[in-house]
Amino acid sequence: MLREFSALTRRELLRLTRNPQSVFVGLLTPILYLLLFGQGFNLGSLSGSSAAGLQYALLGAPNYFSYFAAGMVGFVSVTASLFVGANVIFDKFFGIFKRTRGTPAPSAAVFGSRLIAGSVQPIGFAFLVLVLAILFAHIGGLSGLDVTASVGVVGAVEILLAIVLIAFMFVTLALTLGFLIDTPQTYFAAVNALNLPTLFTSDALYPWGTMPHWLQDIATYNPITLAVSVLRENMFGDSLYTYPPEVYLAGLAAWAAGMGIVAIILVRRALRPSN
């Protein structure tokens, strides 16, 4: 099992290094969001908005960009996981998948290797987003991420776990769809039908205080909201949060576990000899 897993992981990582341009292309979207989108919502410049009101709307973040930068971490784990599932479909198309299935390699190794290797990019992007956002604060004329609370070791570990869990969850979703679906068109349609509503029912991009109540109610249970809350509460202080970050982390872990169980059931079926 371990040898099969490591051989398959090696293959996935080798392919990643063979196509560095795809990594750069993938980075373009989050950079544009950070450089333009996040800069555009300069809520503090609105006349008549009190500092306290703004604080409430942004759940304690000092400005919209800081609030948004944490949300971007959720955003990239969704967008960067897209191609992981598409690669399964391309591998089917080019016969590579047929070879793998012709061998006795267990389905756990087939899936696990793609999960681990496929999470490298979303996790890497998430950290890159955080680093870039912090650097922006030191560039004149740009808004940047302003970490106002002191993040201890526990906080840092929680942030790391949140990033890993949200990436695992969306990579698992993308892979499951990839294993079940045979054409890229259907795949991208399915993935967008699931990912975009998930993203837009979270508080990753909108200020919490400007969301209508019904949307807040939905967003509370959204896995992206949960992941982003772990980051924001650790980075901007806990005064406006109902629960400590561990609770949100546990909720996120439950989501990831649920997704894992669905994946195991569906993928094992998909990997059996076909009918």
Binding site: E4, S6, A7, R11, R18, G95, G102, A105, N275
Partner: protein, 336 residues
């Protein structure tokens, strides 16, 4: 001893509509090379897939090396090597990487995998190209790499689905030379599908001809040729007179077909019939201008049993029509 490959009444119906394989049974003995020949769409790949645990049969059973395929597909995959009809190598990886990763998929250690990959690269004469991306390989190299991947875990049973498709004559000869060597050294049992009948004739111990999902003939190449009833004599007369009846009276002649002044005679022995036929014709007042005697080739056996030269010549085959129907059906279903 159990036979390494046993098929019992294998049936495959795709999507409840296309009857690709309609109940084939056979067994392949240890060390044998068993050829499966048939026109496009006859059901060869479908049969290979069912035997190699890639496709679940609609009914019937397959037993590989004593292991029931339906009950234990993983164990079957461990014992067999497969070269698929289509290319399965990863083009973004080098030939060496492809082989090393394939080794890992069988649970072979990294070090052992490296050694086996090197040995196979040399044997497959991939040599200098080993460190190049597989997508840059020529067709022949690709096929050799596919074979290498299929052999990495040293299986005793090998399935080859049109392994020499698209290779030049040297490539084909080299490929078979290698297979023959393996059979001799390791007692490999080989199940091979091919469109090249000369290959089947030369290298297979036994052959099954499959058409429309049914085996229509089996036997050794010699047996199959004998089934055609011996030699074919072709005569041309210099006169327009019809001598069919005269020729039919010649002892040893089985059937006579006439087209203008040409006659095609099937007979048990060409050497015996030719002088008698010439004599009979001249007595009847018709002179023979050319004579040829042909030992039947496997091509003729094939044509005899499958009844046509090329599928394409007669429009869509029954199976093609059925699959088209099924597709249209599913498209309509999807819109509803």
């Amino acid at each position: 001893m159990t036979d390494p490959i046993v098929a019992e009444g294998l049936v495959k119906t795709y999507g409840g509509k296309v009857q690709a394989v309609k109940g084939v049974s056979f067994e392949v003995h240890t060390g044998e090379a068993y050829g499966f020949i048939g026109p496009n769409g006859a059901g060869k790949t479908t049969t290979v897939s069912m035997l190699s645990a890639g496709l679940r049969p609609t009914s019937g059973r397959a037993v590989i090396d004593g292991v029931e395929v339906a009950a234990n597909p993983e164990e079957v995959k461990r014992r067999i090597g497969v070269v698929f009809q289509e290319s399965t190598a990863d083009g973004d990886l080098t030939g060496r990487e492809n082989l090393e990763i394939a080794a890992g998929l069988y649970g072979i250690s990294r070090r052992e995998g490296k050694e086996r990959a090197s040995a196979l690269l040399e044997r497959m004469q991939i040599g200098d190209a080993s460190e190049r991306m597989a997508k840059t390989y020529s067709g022949g190299m690709r096929r050799r790499l596919e074979l290498g991947v299929g052999l990495i875990h040293r299986p005793k049973i090998l399935f080859l689905d049109e392994p020499t498709l698209g290779l030049d004559p040297q490539g084909r000869a080299g490929f078979w030379q290698f297979i023959q060597q393996l059979r001799k050294e390791e007692g490999l049992t080989v199940f091979v599908t091919t469109h090249y009948l000369d290959e089947a004739d030369q290298y297979c111990d036994r052959i099954a001809i499959i058409d429309h999902g049914t085996i229509v003939a089996t036997g050794t190449p010699t047996e199959l040729k004998d089934k055609l009833g011996g030699d074919v004599v072709t005569l041309k007369t210099s006169t327009a007179q019809d001598v069919s009846e005269t020729l039919r009276q010649v002892p040893g002649v089985l059937t006579v077909q006439r087209q203008d002044s040409s006659y095609r005679l099937k007979c048990s022995s060409g050497e015996v019939v030719v002088p008698l036929a010439v004599e009979a014709c001249s007595k009847a007042g018709s002179l023979i201008s050319t004579v040829s005697v042909k030992r039947p080739s496997l091509d003729e056996v094939f044509l005899e049993f499958t009844g046509r030269e090329f599928r394409e010549d007669e429009g869509p085959s029954a199976t093609d029509k059925a699959i088209l129907g099924a597709r249209l059906q599913s498209m309509r279903g999807g819109r509803r």
